[in-house]
Symmetry: C2
Subunit: 399 residues, 2 copies
């Protein structure tokens, strides 16, 4: 792919973004509805293309092939997910500040689209559609960069979405894709004008590459080295339930817990915690080399700490500021933990697994950010906006 | 300066930030009050150090020496500015979202400090204090990197602030400084852990260096290539007043206008606009090489455009998304302009010069961001925060 092509992908995205930004909610929702219907209408094509990808991926792990798969049922779920996004409130136009300034100048700060969003993701074709419709709903143009494994499926999903957008009177270039060539991605991210933000979804190696080389700001999700801290006053049943859920419910995701911290006064609980975890197939590791590791499978570190302070220090040192939980019946300990732990999400007597845009009532999400700037936690529609001040005067000049 | 020193500056800043984050407003305000009083008490020392800097800067331009100067009166103004920041509302703890989730989980998203803020600025010693107190008020530790020209003044201001912080029971390391060695700055910004954000204030060359080399996110203020567009329906008096004010009021700042766009139907106004500008010493340039230039002095481009669309295209192409103004009596034109112009601030019948944290009612500011991520427009206290979700359960696990 030549530099000319790249230039024109982002130039076309910019042009589309300018047309998308001022659209009203109805126009965007109509386009989303058209996408949902087009997915249903062309289900056969989509499933056939996906079968080609699945055949080519015959040697991959079954978990990867399962993620890759799009059958009739999943196509319908995909169409429904698009309709769910259509039903979400439009963040564009929401007023954040409204003030009357000196001499009657009227100031309004409201949400506007970010512009052009580049999404880099793995072999999950549902992300192709989810990410694109979140962008369109929030008035952003998007550039998709999916995985080679899902190439045929993504190609047809892209065509389906572009046709639907056009039929609804929106620019087809609202949704574009890059090839799966890694060099093309590197060239695109080397140009700070190519997009306004890059959102990586999954793939630690890819994220590291983006953080190291991107001249476009990256809304990064660092891995989640999450902790469950069982305080001196913890209720034993809650402690066991939360520790097991946080580790076992879905061990391969970023909000799964990796280390269990237990207050010395609750050391009596350790055998029960260990037994409950081992019963679910979890290997419990008590040596300190475990503390830095995001296992993302059925292994979990365990450390007995002297007090809340040591737990806070441990989390500050080893945590990745994703999701952290305390189990306690002591309001003062809960208050210190929620105030002093620095993370996107802090839980009291609840599992770290709840960190999720859907659970949080934001509807769909583009991933979970552990960045401190712009968006921290689930990246939903609001997080895909920036703001604009509009100031209305009547010949006002500054004195 | 060795890597060890740099490491420890940011390590000390991190430690201070952990202590600052949970502080209540009263504790932070008391520290700010202590800083104001210490500035007053040690005015003699400050003015003497400043005199040394001024003497060493004898060969500099008078505008630079004027910015550098701190006399008794300016010390008092500085102390009052600190008290003004103390009087501003504390953004930390402000609730942004509050929801009851499934099974009664209680979700709260509220503002928390960003962490460690690195500020890189020019020879304006007032910025040393303004930036530091904005950081302390918003619960952030800061690392100041000032100019060699203000070295002695900054040294004493730093000592004054650190002593006051300590006397108020806050960590002195809440406010630290780097040397003025450019290599030290380059080493610090090469470490993504050294700070959470870099805010450059002034100095295009420095900003370019930061954008090119910083591994820490930069809240950038691109230069301001701002426009005033005189629409077909513009009121002539307002057009002249706004064009002159936007250019002449303070030509050297980023919200000054650089190009005047005039609708062909108001070409009759061009001689009057030109005369009014020339009367104020402005050189009016009608050739297109002027369109890309941020003059920052008494020169201004002028272009007659065919219509609103051509004005919008011009601004999209040459503008830097800072501040853009339309002069019009036509509500439809005003609406299209405010919707379609993509900039931090958009004005209707008002001068671009109003883009300012003080004018916007935000109190003091750290500069004006034209970034699309995190903060767009004046960087006030709220913009120095990120958010944290706190979720309260009672043994909740995810199903």
């Amino acid at each position: 792919v030549s530099a000319v092509t790249i230039h024109s992908v982002s130039e076309r995205a910019r042009a589309a973004a300018r047309l998308l930004a001022p659209l009203d909610t109805e126009a965007k929702n109509a386009a989303l509805q058209a996408i949902a219907e087009e997915i249903r209408a062309r289900k056969g094509e989509i499933v056939a293309a996906n079968r080609t990808d699945l055949d080519a991926a015959a040697s991959e792990r079954s978990s990867i092939r399962d993620r890759l798969k799009l059958d009739d049922e999943r196509c319908e779920a995909l169409a429904r997910a698009v309709e769910d996004v259509a039903a979400l409130p439009d963040p564009v136009g929401t007023v954040l500040r409204e003030r009357t300034l000196e001499d009657g100048l009227e100031l309004t700060q409201s949400r506007v689209p970010l512009g052009v969003v580049l999404i880099v993701y793995e072999a999950r074709p549902n992300v192709t559609v989810d990410a694109a419709v979140l962008c369109v709903k929030s008035g952003n143009a998007c550039i998709l960069r999916g995985s080679r494994l899902a190439e045929r499926t993504n190609e047809i999903l892209l065509a389906v979405m572009r046709d639907a957008l056009e039929s609804a009177g929106l620019p087809a270039d609202s949704v574009q894709a890059l090839s799966t060539d890694r060099e093309e991605l590197r060239r695109v991210i080397a140009d700070p004008q190519a997009a306004d933000v890059v959102v990586p979804r999954g793939g630690e190696e890819l994220k590291k590459m983006l953080l190291a080389h991107s001249k476009i700001p990256v809304l990064a999700a660092a891995g989640g080295n999450c902790h469950v801290y069982v305080d001196a006053s913890a209720d034993p049943d809650k402690a066991v339930a939360i520790a097991v859920n946080a580790k076992v419910h879905r061990p391969g995701v970023c909000n799964a817990a990796e280390t269990l911290l237990v207050h010395r006064d609750r050391e009596d609980l350790v055998p029960r915690l260990r037994a409950a975890l081992e019963e679910q197939g979890v290997e419990v590791l008590e040596d300190e080399t475990a503390w830095e590791t995001e296992f993302l499978d059925l292994r979990m570190g365990l450390r007995v700490v002297d007090d809340l302070d040591q737990a806070l220090d441990h989390i500050a040192r080893y945590g990745t500021a994703h999701s952290e939980a305390i189990v306690t019946e002591d309001p003062a300990a809960a208050k210190r933990f929620t105030k002093e732990v620095d993370a996107a999400a802090v839980y009291v007597n609840a599992s770290t697994r709840f960190t999720d845009g859907g659970v949080y009532g934001m509807g769909a999400e583009m991933g979970i950010s552990t960045s401190r700037l712009h968006a921290r936690g689930p990246i939903g529609l609001e997080e895909l906006t920036t703001t604009k001040y509009v100031v209305i005067g009547d010949g006002h000049v500054r004195r």
